[in-house]
Symmetry: C2
Subunit: 229 residues, 2 copies
Amino acid sequence: MTKHLQNDLDKLKKDLLAMGSMVEEAINRAIRALVAREPELAREVAAGDDAIDRKELEVEDACLKILALHQPVAGDLRYIIAVLKVNNDLERMGDLAGNIAERALFLSTHPPLEVDLDITRMLEAVRRMVRQSLDSLVTQDPDLARDVCLQDDEVDRCQRQMFDTLTQLMQRDSSTVERAVQMLSVSRHLERIGDSATNIAEDVVFMTEGEVIRHRPRTPKSAMPRSSR
Amino acid sequence: MTKHLQNDLDKLKKDLLAMGSMVEEAINRAIRALVAREPELAREVAAGDDAIDRKELEVEDACLKILALHQPVAGDLRYIIAVLKVNNDLERMGDLAGNIAERALFLSTHPPLEVDLDITRMLEAVRRMVRQSLDSLVTQDPDLARDVCLQDDEVDRCQRQMFDTLTQLMQRDSSTVERAVQMLSVSRHLERIGDSATNIAEDVVFMTEGEVIRHRPRTPKSAMPRSSR
């Protein structure tokens, strides 16, 4: 590998990790706005998505330049393709954080829902997946990445539970419908953030080992149809 | 361009279009299962996602081989990168068709919702976007692609309307909650299919003109925050 290519790859990695940090921060802030009921923070997160979008374009542009200039092969080529995909997933996660912030804005300016949702468990699970997927990317650790994929089942279970609880709440008390629908959206967005973290982890496995683990049932549970979500 | 590269690109285009047809067919069948209340068809569509997933891996693999073997530059490189992204969006659309089919299965085995939803307008708008985005891909027509992006506002408007109608319905009649929540999901999945068609159209513009139109406000309307969705 030429020194020039190595420099460009190092710079790319730094940019991608910077983007990862921005997205992780946005998710954490959106969650805080929701849990602590802080409309101001929610507004800020919803407005902060532009910076992530700009970063996405920057990273993609850098990938294209490296491909055109250095025409990398084998492991380096796989790496660039994986970066392009991770970049895309990070941007989507940023969008989802913005969406959660919008729901948090609504929910924090309306009376709290009197229901036991155990949202903390879901939040923690998603936050751990995001953190770990980014860690596996930094350290290029396929085992850590595989572990992320396994955690997705826990998030899906939480989502199903929230779905049932919120549906029952709306049936019991029609004054909760608007807020419960917003909270349902939050849980779906969280689930999709978990999905994106899984995608990133799958790309890390591909990056480091050249093995495609996408679209493979992980456990009998995860092979279930998505009907119940 | 070598003859070998041209052959590989032709084969790639054929594969991508085959995948596009599979996805379009899945969306149309999911919609038919929903509208005509056909549980058997819904089950079939939900089960058919594997073939699309396999096709996605095939297309991606072909892209990587072309990059590694021919090390294309300029327009050809841009084309391959765009194919990778379109491929990813098509796979997501296939997933969403499967999700709609799951909802259609639930809804077609429960009494119909007695409410005027104007879902036909949304279905038609989404179907047109999907068709046109694939057409713009086949014909490499950036103007047609730009037109797809403009149509996304119409889909968003339909989604907001369905959201309002369904929320009011649940408030009025608690016996509708379960079905209305499923229908809300359908409308969100449709909106996301529209988003993916927009992504594909944006990639066609990039493919053909090298211009990035992503993350640009299209009209004042489309620059609105997503809060109301």
